[in-house]
């Protein structure tokens, strides 16, 4: 069974972001970039399923400018067999990303797509669900456990919901989105990094996949949120309780 894994290049999660001077976007030029952490988990899951003999090959996909090839190299170092770079200078909304992925899934005859549940830049949490809809497939979102039963064409997933861990049985082919506790991505060794340099990345222009891209959403501005001011330090539990009762009046 072939597997497709999406890897998005995002601003390194440990960096304090800066909004650009004309308040239209978050600054990304000359900023350290990284693979979206949820996509690292998706890559790791694909690797584990491959090591278990369930997945035959892993294709990593990223959409964006030439710089996303760094992220694809990381995916190859993490174990992807091949990588597809969909080349565009535009920033695509999740629906358009899902449309591109749907075309690739059909071309590749993939049975399983693994995506991070959200990207830590736009925090949209949409692409996996949208892709599943466009393909007419089952969706397993926010997964913390994935068990694939190829013989029965089924997948059992545990999902992290607001009410607890929900277990669903899904029919293959399936779209899975990964939550934090699905696995812990392994350390990439230097030999793997070196090997990744020899693996293929095929570049495809966005317009050769989708001729007309439509978006109806326009960003008007991006601003810093109002900052909370630091309050006061109290010296004892007694003082804290007194403040909460008589000053803040919250208990």
């Amino acid at each position: 069974m072939k597997c497709l894994v999406t890897v998005k290049q995002v601003v390194d999660p440990y960096i304090n972001i800066r909004i650009n001077s004309d308040h239209t976007a978050v600054e990304t030029a000359n900023i350290k970039m990284a693979m979206n952490p949820f996509d690292e988990i998706a890559m790791e899951e694909a690797m584990r399923q491959k090591e278990a003999g369930i997945i035959s090959s892993i294709t990593a996909v990223s959409i964006g400018p030439i710089s996303v090839q760094e992220t694809l190299r990381q995916a190859l170092a993490r174990g992807a067999d091949e990588a597809i770079h969909v080349v565009t200078s535009q920033t695509l909304t999740p629906l358009n990303i899902a449309k591109v992925l749907a075309v690739l899934v059909k071309q590749q005859q993939t049975q399983l797509v693994l995506l991070g549940k959200q990207a830590i830049d736009d925090d949209c949490n949409q692409t996996g669900q949208m892709l599943a809809a466009l393909l007419g497939w089952a969706q397993g979102t926010f997964c913390s456990s994935v068990k694939i039963d190829v013989a029965n064409q089924g997948i059992t997933v545990a999902r992290e919901t607001d009410y607890g861990l929900e277990t669903l049985q899904l029919r293959l082919p399936t779209v899975i989105t990964t939550d934090l506790r699905l696995n812990e991505p392994r350390y990439i060794s230097l030999p793997n990094v070196m090997q990744a340099k020899r693996k293929p990345i095929s570049s495809i222009n966005l317009d050769s996949i989708i001729s007309e891209l439509r978006t109806e959403i326009k960003t008007l501005k991006v601003e810093a949120p109002p900052q909370r001011k630091a309050g006061i330090m109290v010296q004892s539990v007694n003082e804290l309780l007194h403040k909460l009762q008589h000053e803040a009046q919250v208990i």
């Binding site: 601003v11 304090n16 972001i17 909004i19 978050v26 999740p94 629906l95 899902a98 959200q118 830590i120 925090d123 949209c124 692409t127 669900q129 949208m130 892709l131 599943a132 809809a133 466009l134 497939w137 969706q139 926010f142 913390s144 059992t156 999902r159 992290e160 919901t161 607001d162 009410y163 607890g164 861990l165 929900e166 277990t167 669903l168 049985q169 899904l170 029919r171 934090l180 506790r181 109806e216 959403i217 326009k218 960003t219 991006v222 601003e223 949120p225 001011k229 309050g231 006061i232 330090m233 010296q235 539990v237 007694n238 804290l240 309780l241 403040k243 909460l244 803040a248 919250v250 208990i251």
Partner: protein, 313 residues
């Protein structure tokens, strides 16, 4: 044209997040409908029909909708979408699971986690774990939004019940099947998303027993228990207690952060709380930068002492 709210419920009770969404819906249009898709959800329908400013409750009752499976629900919503300008759902794991599927079926882009409605087509939502607020406008014929419940007040109750319409539409796609859910026992403590007071623990706590200690405090305060990612990853508490960018977003009147350093991912889930208290032995912990009251001390002394003092009160 009207607003359709996708209700969150468990076939017995309407989740309060839906009441917050009614308030948001009022800023979009005066005609507000609520969809209750479930299995024999009559009690939920009755509850929804008493909400102020709601004009109609749509009931779709079938086994296919019992567990809110996204595939079945999305197809149902797609089918009734033509009557609505707006389709909104809470930005909870329920809404996040279902609504993007609806949006893609309708070929409409979705705006996620709306925290403010500027006009009928312009919305504000947080990005980068709440470190930036993006204002977006949409020209789409239909507008699909997930709404952050805590950003809007709960609606009032009406004097009379609104009309109820039964939908005789069944979508059983047989793509997914519900097996079970493992819920965390909260032992009579209030629900985390709705609690007026939240006591949250982080990396400063080391064992499950340490969370028991927090629970004693929570009982005294009638508070919910929450946690940072570190505590969930360490297996001290279940995942549904995680507060932050990828967990729950809460905005109680009092948030007590115990042994939580204050990573930006955690702050994303609680910084809209009215009063924030930080208890941490590290005076450099970032959480102190936004706490209204900070106490640099050992939590293993502070928590029992605070619990005892509340006893004496």
């Amino acid at each position: 044209m009207a607003v359709l709210i996708i209700a969150e419920h468990d076939n017995l009770n309407l989740n309060d997040v839906t009441k917050h969404l009614v308030t948001a819906a009022q800023q979009l249009d005066t005609e507000i409908h609520i969809l209750i898709a479930g299995f024999e959800p009559q009690q939920v329908v009755t509850q929804a029909s008493t909400l102020a400013n709601v004009n109609c409750v749509l009931q779709a009752s079938n086994n296919a909708y019992k567990y809110q499976l996204a595939e079945n629900l999305a197809s149902l919503i797609q089918t009734i979408a033509a009557d609505y300008k707006y389709i909104i759902a809470p930005a909870t794991t329920f809404g996040k699971n279902v609504l993007p599927r609806v949006a893609a079926l309708l070929d409409i882009e979705q705006i996620s986690d709306v925290t403010a409605i500027i006009s009928k087509n312009t919305f504000v939502h947080p990005i980068y774990a709440g470190n930036a607020l993006e204002t977006v406008a949409t020209s789409a014929a239909k507008i699909i939004l997930t709404i952050r419940p805590t950003a809007f007040m709960m609606c009032n109750l009406a004097a009379t019940n609104c009309k109820i319409k039964n939908l005789d539409l069944v979508f059983e796609l047989n793509l997914s099947k519900y097996l079970s859910i493992e819920t965390s026992a909260n032992n009579g403590l209030p629900d985390l998303s709705a609690a007026a007071i939240v006591v949250a623990g982080g990396r400063g706590l080391h064992t499950k027993d340490d969370f028991e200690m927090l629970k004693q405090l929570a009982i005294k305060l009638h508070a919910a228990i929450g946690a940072s990612r570190a505590a969930v990853d360490a297996g001290l508490v279940p995942n549904d207690l995680q507060i932050g960018q990828t967990g729950k977003v809460v905005a109680p009147k009092l948030y007590i952060a115990v042994g939580i350093s204050g990573a930006i991912q955690h702050l994303a889930g609680m910084k809209d709380s009215k009063i924030i208290v930080a208890i941490n032995k590290d005076p450099e912990a970032p959480i102190f930068k936004l706490a209204d009251y900070g106490l640099v001390a050992d939590l293993y002394q502070v928590i029992p002492e605070l619990t005892l003092l509340l006893d004496a009160k």
